[in-house]
Protein backbone atom coordinates (compact mmCIF):
# COMPACT_ATOMS: atom_id res chain seq x y z
CA UNK A 1 0.00 0.00 0.00
CA UNK A 2 1.28 3.42 -0.86
CA UNK A 3 1.50 6.29 1.57
CA UNK A 4 -1.70 7.91 0.37
CA UNK A 5 -3.70 4.84 1.13
CA UNK A 6 -4.44 3.13 -2.13
CA UNK A 7 -3.28 -0.29 -3.11
CA UNK A 8 -1.44 -0.61 -6.36
CA UNK A 9 -3.19 -3.69 -7.65
CA UNK A 10 -1.57 -3.71 -11.04
CA UNK A 11 2.03 -4.67 -10.53
CA UNK A 12 2.87 -6.03 -13.96
CA UNK A 13 5.86 -4.37 -15.57
CA UNK A 14 4.46 -2.04 -18.25
CA UNK A 15 7.58 -2.68 -20.24
CA UNK A 16 7.43 -6.45 -20.11
CA UNK A 17 6.81 -8.11 -23.47
CA UNK A 18 3.11 -8.21 -24.21
CA UNK A 19 2.20 -6.28 -21.10
CA UNK A 20 0.87 -3.35 -23.07
CA UNK A 21 -1.77 -5.56 -24.62
CA UNK A 22 -5.23 -6.53 -23.74
CA UNK A 23 -6.52 -10.07 -23.81
CA UNK A 24 -6.24 -11.83 -27.12
CA UNK A 25 -9.04 -10.90 -29.44
CA UNK A 26 -9.98 -7.69 -27.65
CA UNK A 27 -10.09 -4.76 -29.99
CA UNK A 28 -10.89 -1.86 -27.70
CA UNK A 29 -8.58 0.51 -25.90
CA UNK A 30 -8.76 0.79 -22.12
CA UNK A 31 -11.08 3.83 -22.10
CA UNK A 32 -13.36 5.54 -24.58
CA UNK A 33 -12.26 8.63 -26.43
CA UNK A 34 -14.12 11.14 -24.24
CA UNK A 35 -12.84 9.60 -21.03
CA UNK A 36 -9.35 9.58 -22.44
CA UNK A 37 -9.54 13.24 -23.46
CA UNK A 38 -10.65 14.16 -19.93
CA UNK A 39 -7.81 12.10 -18.44
CA UNK A 40 -5.34 13.68 -20.87
CA UNK A 41 -6.52 17.19 -19.96
CA UNK A 42 -6.16 16.38 -16.26
CA UNK A 43 -2.71 14.78 -16.35
CA UNK A 44 -1.10 15.59 -19.72
CA UNK A 45 0.62 18.79 -18.66
CA UNK A 46 1.95 17.32 -15.40
CA UNK A 47 3.40 14.38 -17.32
CA UNK A 48 4.84 16.68 -19.97
CA UNK A 49 6.51 18.77 -17.24
CA UNK A 50 8.04 15.65 -15.70
CA UNK A 51 9.27 14.35 -19.06
CA UNK A 52 10.55 17.75 -20.10
CA UNK A 53 12.69 18.07 -16.98
CA UNK A 54 13.91 14.48 -17.00
CA UNK A 55 14.72 14.35 -20.70
CA UNK A 56 15.88 17.96 -20.68
CA UNK A 57 14.24 18.72 -24.00
CA UNK A 58 10.68 19.87 -24.80
CA UNK A 59 10.56 18.21 -28.22
CA UNK A 60 11.60 14.86 -26.78
CA UNK A 61 9.05 15.36 -24.03
CA UNK A 62 6.34 15.69 -26.71
CA UNK A 63 7.37 12.40 -28.30
CA UNK A 64 7.66 10.59 -24.98
CA UNK A 65 4.29 11.97 -23.88
CA UNK A 66 2.55 10.53 -26.95
CA UNK A 67 4.32 7.21 -26.54
CA UNK A 68 3.46 7.01 -22.84
CA UNK A 69 -0.24 7.78 -23.38
CA UNK A 70 -0.36 5.32 -26.27
CA UNK A 71 1.08 2.54 -24.12
CA UNK A 72 -1.21 3.55 -21.29
CA UNK A 73 -4.27 3.25 -23.52
CA UNK A 74 -3.48 -0.27 -24.64
CA UNK A 75 -2.45 -1.37 -21.14
CA UNK A 76 -4.83 -3.46 -19.00
CA UNK A 77 -5.83 -0.70 -16.56
CA UNK A 78 -9.41 -1.79 -15.93
CA UNK A 79 -10.39 -1.43 -12.29
CA UNK A 80 -7.76 1.17 -11.41
CA UNK A 81 -8.80 4.43 -9.79
CA UNK A 82 -7.71 7.74 -11.28
CA UNK A 83 -4.78 8.24 -8.89
CA UNK A 84 -3.60 4.71 -9.60
CA UNK A 85 -3.97 5.34 -13.32
CA UNK A 86 -1.87 8.49 -12.95
CA UNK A 87 0.82 6.56 -11.04
CA UNK A 88 0.74 3.87 -13.71
CA UNK A 89 1.04 6.49 -16.47
CA UNK A 90 4.09 7.99 -14.77
CA UNK A 91 5.56 4.55 -14.42
CA UNK A 92 5.12 3.87 -18.14
CA UNK A 93 6.69 7.25 -18.92
CA UNK A 94 9.61 6.56 -16.59
CA UNK A 95 10.21 3.19 -18.22
CA UNK A 96 10.28 4.87 -21.62
CA UNK A 97 12.80 7.38 -20.35
CA UNK A 98 14.92 4.63 -18.79
CA UNK A 99 14.96 2.86 -22.15
CA UNK A 100 16.21 6.04 -23.75
CA UNK A 101 18.89 6.43 -21.07
CA UNK A 102 20.05 2.93 -21.79
CA UNK A 103 20.31 3.62 -25.49
CA UNK A 104 22.54 6.62 -25.06
CA UNK A 105 23.57 9.13 -22.48
CA UNK A 106 21.41 12.19 -22.62
CA UNK A 107 23.14 14.16 -19.92
CA UNK A 108 25.54 16.00 -22.18
CA UNK A 109 22.92 16.22 -24.90
CA UNK A 110 20.50 17.86 -22.50
CA UNK A 111 23.11 20.40 -21.47
CA UNK A 112 23.88 21.19 -25.09
CA UNK A 113 20.30 21.30 -26.31
CA UNK A 114 18.74 23.36 -23.58
CA UNK A 115 17.43 25.93 -24.39
CA UNK A 116 18.54 25.97 -28.04
CA UNK A 117 16.14 23.13 -28.87
CA UNK A 118 13.39 25.40 -27.68
CA UNK A 119 13.98 28.18 -30.19
CA UNK A 120 10.63 27.63 -31.80
CA UNK A 121 8.80 28.29 -28.55
CA UNK A 122 6.20 31.02 -28.68
CA UNK A 123 7.61 32.69 -25.57
CA UNK A 124 11.33 32.66 -24.99
CA UNK A 125 12.30 31.53 -21.48
CA UNK A 126 13.65 34.13 -19.08
CA UNK A 127 17.27 34.14 -17.93
CA UNK A 128 16.19 32.78 -14.54
CA UNK A 129 14.30 29.98 -16.24
CA UNK A 130 17.32 29.09 -18.37
CA UNK A 131 19.52 29.11 -15.25
CA UNK A 132 17.15 26.74 -13.49
CA UNK A 133 16.94 24.46 -16.51
CA UNK A 134 20.69 24.32 -16.96
CA UNK A 135 21.27 23.68 -13.26
CA UNK A 136 18.77 20.85 -13.17
CA UNK A 137 20.19 19.40 -16.38
CA UNK A 138 23.60 19.14 -14.72
CA UNK A 139 22.24 16.40 -12.47
CA UNK A 140 22.24 12.82 -13.63
CA UNK A 141 18.94 11.71 -15.24
CA UNK A 142 18.15 9.40 -12.35
CA UNK A 143 18.79 12.18 -9.86
CA UNK A 144 16.44 14.45 -11.79
CA UNK A 145 13.74 11.78 -11.77
CA UNK A 146 14.21 11.09 -8.06
CA UNK A 147 14.01 14.76 -7.09
CA UNK A 148 11.04 15.48 -9.35
CA UNK A 149 9.03 12.51 -8.14
CA UNK A 150 9.83 13.25 -4.49
CA UNK A 151 9.54 17.04 -4.38
CA UNK A 152 7.11 17.89 -7.20
CA UNK A 153 4.93 14.81 -7.52
CA UNK A 154 5.14 14.13 -3.79
CA UNK A 155 5.56 10.40 -4.38
CA UNK A 156 6.35 8.10 -1.47
CA UNK A 157 9.61 6.16 -1.49
CA UNK A 158 7.96 2.89 -2.50
CA UNK A 159 6.20 4.60 -5.41
CA UNK A 160 9.48 6.16 -6.56
CA UNK A 161 11.15 2.76 -6.30
CA UNK A 162 8.44 1.21 -8.42
CA UNK A 163 8.61 3.95 -11.02
CA UNK A 164 12.37 3.85 -11.35
CA UNK A 165 12.79 0.09 -10.98
CA UNK A 166 14.92 0.46 -7.85
CA UNK A 167 14.83 -1.19 -4.44
CA UNK A 168 12.65 0.76 -1.98
CA UNK A 169 15.42 0.59 0.63
CA UNK A 170 17.87 2.38 -1.64
CA UNK A 171 15.59 5.35 -2.36
CA UNK A 172 16.37 7.17 0.88
CA UNK A 173 20.11 7.08 0.24
CA UNK A 174 19.81 7.92 -3.46
CA UNK A 175 17.43 10.77 -2.76
CA UNK A 176 19.76 12.11 -0.09
CA UNK A 177 22.69 12.04 -2.52
CA UNK A 178 20.64 13.70 -5.26
CA UNK A 179 19.50 16.40 -2.84
CA UNK A 180 23.06 16.97 -1.65
CA UNK A 181 24.28 17.25 -5.25
CA UNK A 182 21.58 19.75 -6.16
CA UNK A 183 22.25 21.75 -2.99
CA UNK A 184 25.95 21.89 -3.91
CA UNK A 185 25.08 23.05 -7.44
CA UNK A 186 22.77 25.74 -6.08
CA UNK A 187 25.49 26.86 -3.67
CA UNK A 188 28.08 26.94 -6.45
CA UNK A 189 25.86 28.99 -8.76
CA UNK A 190 24.70 31.29 -6.00
CA UNK A 191 21.10 30.16 -6.45
CA UNK A 192 20.61 28.87 -2.91
CA UNK A 193 18.32 31.01 -0.82
Amino acid sequence: MSSDGYVIRHTADPHAPGSASTEAGADVVSMDEHAFQAFYRAHGRALWSYLCRILGNPAQADDALQEAFCKFLVAPIGGLGESEQRAYLFRIATNLVIDQWRKRSREQQALEQWPTADRAEKNQPSAASIDMSRTFAELKPRERALLWLAYVEGSAHDEIAQSLGLKPKSIRVLLFRARRRLAALLEKKGLRA
Partner: protein, 167 residues
Protein backbone atom coordinates in the same frame (compact mmCIF):
# COMPACT_ATOMS: atom_id res chain seq x y z
CA UNK B 1 32.01 3.30 3.05
CA UNK B 2 28.41 4.23 2.24
CA UNK B 3 27.35 7.61 3.55
CA UNK B 4 24.14 7.13 5.50
CA UNK B 5 21.66 9.99 5.20
CA UNK B 6 20.98 11.81 8.45
CA UNK B 7 17.41 11.62 9.65
CA UNK B 8 15.81 14.65 11.29
CA UNK B 9 12.35 14.38 12.80
CA UNK B 10 11.53 17.87 11.48
CA UNK B 11 12.15 16.85 7.85
CA UNK B 12 8.47 16.62 6.88
CA UNK B 13 7.63 19.96 8.56
CA UNK B 14 10.55 21.65 6.84
CA UNK B 15 9.50 20.31 3.46
CA UNK B 16 5.95 21.41 4.07
CA UNK B 17 7.14 24.88 5.06
CA UNK B 18 9.37 25.13 1.98
CA UNK B 19 6.59 24.21 -0.43
CA UNK B 20 3.80 26.20 1.24
CA UNK B 21 4.77 29.42 -0.51
CA UNK B 22 4.60 31.31 2.80
CA UNK B 23 7.46 32.40 5.08
CA UNK B 24 8.26 29.64 7.61
CA UNK B 25 6.97 30.06 11.14
CA UNK B 26 9.43 31.01 13.94
CA UNK B 27 9.75 27.45 15.26
CA UNK B 28 10.85 26.18 11.86
CA UNK B 29 13.18 29.15 11.40
CA UNK B 30 14.78 28.40 14.78
CA UNK B 31 15.25 24.76 13.80
CA UNK B 32 16.73 25.73 10.44
CA UNK B 33 19.33 27.83 12.23
CA UNK B 34 20.50 24.72 14.13
CA UNK B 35 20.09 21.90 11.58
CA UNK B 36 22.29 21.95 8.48
CA UNK B 37 20.48 18.97 6.97
CA UNK B 38 17.10 20.69 7.23
CA UNK B 39 18.57 23.91 5.78
CA UNK B 40 19.62 21.89 2.77
CA UNK B 41 16.19 20.26 2.52
CA UNK B 42 14.53 23.66 2.79
CA UNK B 43 16.71 25.16 0.06
CA UNK B 44 16.24 22.23 -2.32
CA UNK B 45 12.49 21.89 -1.72
CA UNK B 46 12.02 25.64 -2.23
CA UNK B 47 14.08 25.60 -5.41
CA UNK B 48 12.19 22.57 -6.73
CA UNK B 49 8.97 24.50 -6.13
CA UNK B 50 10.25 27.32 -8.34
CA UNK B 51 11.39 24.81 -10.97
CA UNK B 52 7.99 23.14 -10.88
CA UNK B 53 6.22 26.49 -11.30
CA UNK B 54 8.52 27.43 -14.18
CA UNK B 55 7.93 24.09 -15.88
CA UNK B 56 4.20 24.42 -15.29
CA UNK B 57 4.28 27.79 -17.05
CA UNK B 58 6.14 26.26 -19.99
CA UNK B 59 3.66 23.39 -20.13
CA UNK B 60 0.69 25.76 -20.06
CA UNK B 61 2.11 27.78 -22.95
CA UNK B 62 2.89 24.74 -25.05
CA UNK B 63 0.48 23.10 -27.49
CA UNK B 64 0.55 19.51 -26.36
CA UNK B 65 0.01 16.70 -28.88
CA UNK B 66 -3.62 16.21 -29.94
CA UNK B 67 -5.28 13.61 -27.68
CA UNK B 68 -7.57 12.46 -30.50
CA UNK B 69 -4.52 11.57 -32.55
CA UNK B 70 -2.97 9.68 -29.63
CA UNK B 71 -6.22 7.78 -29.10
CA UNK B 72 -6.41 6.70 -32.74
CA UNK B 73 -2.75 5.82 -32.74
CA UNK B 74 -3.34 3.59 -29.70
CA UNK B 75 -6.22 1.88 -31.48
CA UNK B 76 -4.06 1.24 -34.53
CA UNK B 77 -1.26 -0.04 -32.31
CA UNK B 78 -3.65 -2.39 -30.59
CA UNK B 79 -5.03 -3.74 -33.86
CA UNK B 80 -1.51 -4.24 -35.13
CA UNK B 81 -0.62 -6.11 -31.93
CA UNK B 82 -3.77 -8.26 -32.26
CA UNK B 83 -2.81 -9.09 -35.85
CA UNK B 84 0.73 -9.92 -34.80
CA UNK B 85 -0.62 -12.24 -32.10
CA UNK B 86 -3.00 -13.91 -34.54
CA UNK B 87 -0.36 -14.50 -37.20
CA UNK B 88 2.38 -15.57 -34.79
CA UNK B 89 1.60 -19.33 -35.20
CA UNK B 90 1.74 -18.91 -38.98
CA UNK B 91 5.13 -17.28 -38.72
CA UNK B 92 6.34 -20.24 -36.69
CA UNK B 93 4.79 -22.68 -39.16
CA UNK B 94 6.52 -20.96 -42.07
CA UNK B 95 9.87 -21.63 -40.43
CA UNK B 96 8.82 -25.23 -39.80
CA UNK B 97 7.79 -25.56 -43.45
CA UNK B 98 11.14 -24.27 -44.67
CA UNK B 99 12.88 -26.76 -42.40
CA UNK B 100 10.54 -29.54 -43.63
CA UNK B 101 11.31 -28.67 -47.23
CA UNK B 102 15.02 -28.73 -46.54
CA UNK B 103 14.74 -32.16 -44.86
CA UNK B 104 12.70 -33.46 -47.81
CA UNK B 105 15.39 -32.22 -50.18
CA UNK B 106 18.12 -33.96 -48.17
CA UNK B 107 16.08 -37.20 -48.13
CA UNK B 108 15.57 -36.91 -51.88
CA UNK B 109 19.27 -36.39 -52.51
CA UNK B 110 20.19 -39.33 -50.26
CA UNK B 111 17.66 -41.55 -52.03
CA UNK B 112 18.99 -40.63 -55.43
CA UNK B 113 22.62 -40.67 -54.36
CA UNK B 114 23.58 -43.93 -56.18
CA UNK B 115 22.18 -42.57 -59.44
CA UNK B 116 23.75 -39.15 -58.92
CA UNK B 117 27.16 -40.78 -58.36
CA UNK B 118 26.91 -42.03 -61.90
CA UNK B 119 26.92 -38.44 -63.12
CA UNK B 120 30.01 -37.64 -61.10
CA UNK B 121 31.88 -40.72 -62.32
CA UNK B 122 31.06 -40.01 -65.99
CA UNK B 123 34.01 -38.34 -67.75
CA UNK B 124 32.19 -37.15 -70.86
CA UNK B 125 28.68 -36.26 -71.96
CA UNK B 126 28.08 -39.54 -73.76
CA UNK B 127 28.77 -41.64 -70.64
CA UNK B 128 26.10 -39.70 -68.69
CA UNK B 129 23.34 -41.47 -70.53
CA UNK B 130 23.51 -44.71 -68.53
CA UNK B 131 23.23 -42.68 -65.32
CA UNK B 132 20.24 -40.77 -66.71
CA UNK B 133 18.65 -44.05 -67.75
CA UNK B 134 19.09 -45.48 -64.23
CA UNK B 135 17.57 -42.33 -62.79
CA UNK B 136 14.54 -42.70 -65.04
CA UNK B 137 14.29 -46.42 -64.40
CA UNK B 138 11.06 -47.47 -62.55
CA UNK B 139 12.57 -47.51 -59.02
CA UNK B 140 14.41 -44.16 -59.35
CA UNK B 141 11.56 -42.53 -61.20
CA UNK B 142 9.05 -43.63 -58.57
CA UNK B 143 11.16 -42.06 -55.79
CA UNK B 144 11.48 -38.87 -57.78
CA UNK B 145 7.74 -38.68 -58.48
CA UNK B 146 6.74 -39.46 -54.90
CA UNK B 147 9.13 -36.85 -53.51
CA UNK B 148 7.93 -34.23 -55.99
CA UNK B 149 4.27 -34.97 -55.23
CA UNK B 150 4.94 -34.71 -51.49
CA UNK B 151 6.67 -31.35 -51.90
CA UNK B 152 3.91 -30.06 -54.17
CA UNK B 153 1.25 -31.26 -51.73
CA UNK B 154 3.02 -29.51 -48.85
CA UNK B 155 3.21 -26.27 -50.82
CA UNK B 156 -0.45 -26.53 -51.84
CA UNK B 157 -1.52 -27.11 -48.23
CA UNK B 158 0.46 -24.07 -47.08
CA UNK B 159 -1.01 -21.90 -49.84
CA UNK B 160 -4.60 -23.00 -49.12
CA UNK B 161 -4.15 -22.35 -45.40
CA UNK B 162 -2.70 -18.90 -46.03
CA UNK B 163 -5.66 -18.07 -48.29
CA UNK B 164 -8.12 -19.28 -45.64
CA UNK B 165 -6.43 -17.17 -42.95
CA UNK B 166 -6.43 -14.07 -45.15
CA UNK B 167 -10.17 -14.55 -45.80
Amino acid sequence: MIMQPPHCTHDADVRRAATSGHPPDPAILAHLADCADCRETFAVAGWMLHLSADTGRMASERDLPDPARIWWRARLLQRWEAETRATAPLDVMQRVEILGGFIALVVLILTLLPELRGFGAASDGASWWPAVARLLAPSGLTTLIISSVLLLGLMAAVTIRQLLVED
